[in-house]
Structure formats: structure tokens, C-alpha cells
């Protein structure tokens, strides 16, 4: 038996009122569920925005479209659940990536500290600033003092290169200017 309003017209008055109350309750419940899902979407969007900003210096988050339709619409319960689940999945992936990058950077920082304490044990080891999560294109490297003499004498030191002045390299030559 359908739940459409046309069937309600043939029910006895008491049953009719009860069925309508059930329908109203059902519609109200569904609206409340949609409102709840929208609140979850707002929270997830906020957390994803924070994750995006955090992950940006680490190379950024992978872009993936989560649009469920091409034009703005009132989404039903199922569509809102899809949006919520995809946001949740993206947030989980973002946090996993951030956590992995943070662990790698922490390992590199520990290695740098060991290099500074005992440079002789880490000959020619090299850690870039990018690996440490720092800006710039410099690099920490264990090098011998005085070149070959230092290598023979075991005089090792950690040096921070200043990086290159043009991080992206020189602009390719575009030919002579047109008159």
C-alpha cells in the first residue's frame, strides 16, 4: 500500500489522522536528518580547510572533484550522505598524508641533530630544507674541511648551503624582442 496523500482520502478519519501524523513525523525526521548532515558537512569543510592550509607547504592535497551535480540543487538525504562521506574520506586521506610527512620531517630533524653532533659518522650526508619542512632550497651537508686534506685528516663539518638565487632556474631564453 502506498503512502501517497491520495490513499489517505479513503481511510477512516481516525486512521487518516494517524497516517498523516506518521507522514508528517517522517518528513520532519528526514528534514532533521538533512539538517544534521549539513551541519556535519560544515564541520568537515572547516577541518578540510585547516588540513589544506597545513598540507600546503608539504606539497598540497590531491585535488579530486566531489560535486554530485552540475548545478546548485536541494540535495536529498542520499546525496547529502555521499557529500558527507566523500568529505570524510578526503579529510582522512589528508590527515594521513600530513601525519606521514610530519613523521618523515621529524626523522630528518633527528638525523640532522646526529649529523651536527658526529659529522664524521655521516660523511657526505645531505638533507634539504624541503625535507625538514622549511622554506627555501638550501641543504645541510656533511663536508670535509679544506677539501681533500680534511678528508684524509678526518675533519668533517656540517654546512648549510645558501641555496640557489633563482629557485625555479633561469627563465628560458625567448629569443630577440619583436619590433
Amino acid at each position: 500500500m502506498g503512502n501517497g496523500p491520495s490513499q489517505l482520502l479513503y481511510l477512516p478519519p481516525q486512521e487518516h489522522d494517524g497516517r498523516r501524523a506518521t507522514l508528517v513525523d517522517g518528513a520532519a525526521d528526514e528534514r532533521a536528518a538533512r539538517r544534521n548532515l549539513r551541519e556535519q558537512i560544515v564541520r568537515l569543510e572547516r577541518q578540510l580547510a585547516d588540513a589544506f592550509v597545513t598540507a600546503f607547504p608539504m606539497g598540497g592535497l590531491p585535488q579530486r572533484s566531489t560535486a554530485v551535480c552540475a548545478e546548485p540543487r536541494l540535495l536529498d538525504l542520499g546525496e547529502l550522505e555521499i557529500v558527507r562521506d566523500e568529505l570524510s574520506q578526503r579529510l582522512h586521506e589528508a590527515r594521513t598524508m600530513i601525519s606521514r610527512c610530519a613523521d618523515e620531517q621529524q626523522e630528518k630533524r633527528l638525523l640532522l641533530e646526529r649529523m651536527l653532533l658526529e659529522p664524521g659518522r655521516y660523511r657526505f650526508a645531505r638533507i634539504s630544507c624541503e625535507d625538514l619542512g622549511e622554506p627555501g632550497c638550501g641543504a645541510w651537508q656533511v663536508r670535509p674541511r679544506l677539501g681533500l686534506v680534511g678528508m684524509l685528516m678526518g675533519w668533517w663539518q656540517v654546512k648549510l648551503s645558501s641555496g640557489c638565487p633563482l629557485a625555479g632556474g633561469r627563465r628560458p631564453f625567448s629569443g630577440p624582442a619583436r619590433s
Partner: protein
Amino acid sequence: MTGEATGRPLPSDPGFVSSDVAAEFPGLRLDWMTVAAPPGRLRSSPPAVVERLGYLANRYRGASVVAMRTKPIPHAYRAFYRQIGLDPDVERIPAERVAVERLLHGGFASVDLITDACLVALLETGVPIWALDAGAVDEKGLGIRTTTRGDAGWQPGSEYLEPGALAVVDGSTVHGLLFADPGSAGAVRPRTTRVALFSVAVAGVPAIHVDESLWICADLIRRGDSGE
């Protein structure tokens, strides 16, 4: 409008939001106002507006654009985009769209007075403004509703719209989809004498920002129109 004569901010009218949409999005609102347009042609912006665009362009840096989505107003629009099925990383919210264009092109190019006024209002407040020919808006005024079967497309000669889309409408005409540029049927033309400015705000966008955005836009058009 008395404000035009006195130079005070012009009063805006709250547009209607259909009951089904308002029930789902209690914070969704459309405000609109009309303002006299420069007569005869779409005149270029006065130097002060072009200078202001340049000044506003200097506010943008890469880091601030990256962090923009964590600010309250862009966040509110981004969350709303998700709630209506759009992906704000693909279909960017207006504030982010102009910020990305600024980073790509190095500045804001002046188009005409009305376009520039809408852009300045968006840059100052984060609340987008769109302009329509006020003559194309009927007496019911502007509002938001879902399209129904039989609604004609807003481009001349276009086909019927898919029902269920959120759109900016008046009593009889669909002027465009929500957050999209209005169609050519109601577009501002050289013969336009009055411009209808409207903004769409969502939950989380303070009303004062909406009012300020409309006032900035109307004020720039009024000043540009009088040659100030």
C-alpha cells in the same frame, strides 16, 4: 530612493526565498536594490575606481589566498556550495575565483563601471554582487526558488531548464542559476537606465557585510555616474 539625493547609503530590499528553500536553508538570503545607471552607454570606470582596483590587487599574496578558505565568509560560502552539490574546488566561490585570477594575471583589469563596482564590493567584503537591468525585473522583485518544469532558460532561444535547480528569479523570469552570472535576458545594456544590484548571502555571513557590499557597489556606480 532618497539616499541617492542625499548621498547616504541606499536602502536594500530583502528578496523572497521560496518556502521549500527557506525551510532547508534558513540562513539563505537575497538582498537587492536599484540604482541609476550611467545613461547612454556602459561607461568606463573613473580613475579613482581603477586606482582602487590596483590598491585592492596589492592586498593579495599567495599565502593569504591559500588561507582564505579558513576565513569565516569564504568558509560559509564553501560549506554552502557543498550543501547544494557543488564542489568549491572546481566551481570556485566568487571571492576565491577573483583571488586566483589576481594571482594568475597580476592584477584586476578594469572592464566598465558596473562590473568594476561589483568587483570592488566583492574584494572589500567577500560578499558577491551581481547586476541586472532593473527594467527586466518585474514588480515582485528578485528572490530565490527552485526551477520547475516549464521554466524557460534565461538565454534567448535556450531550452527549458531542468527542474529542481536553485535559481535567482523574479515573479515570472529565471535570471540565472544561484551564484552564476545572470543570463543575457536581464543583462545590463548600454540603454539600461537603472541597475538592479543583488547579493546572495548564506548562513554564517553577517548581514552587515551584505549591506556594506551593496552600499559600496551602489555608491561607486552613483559617484561614477555623477562624474565624481
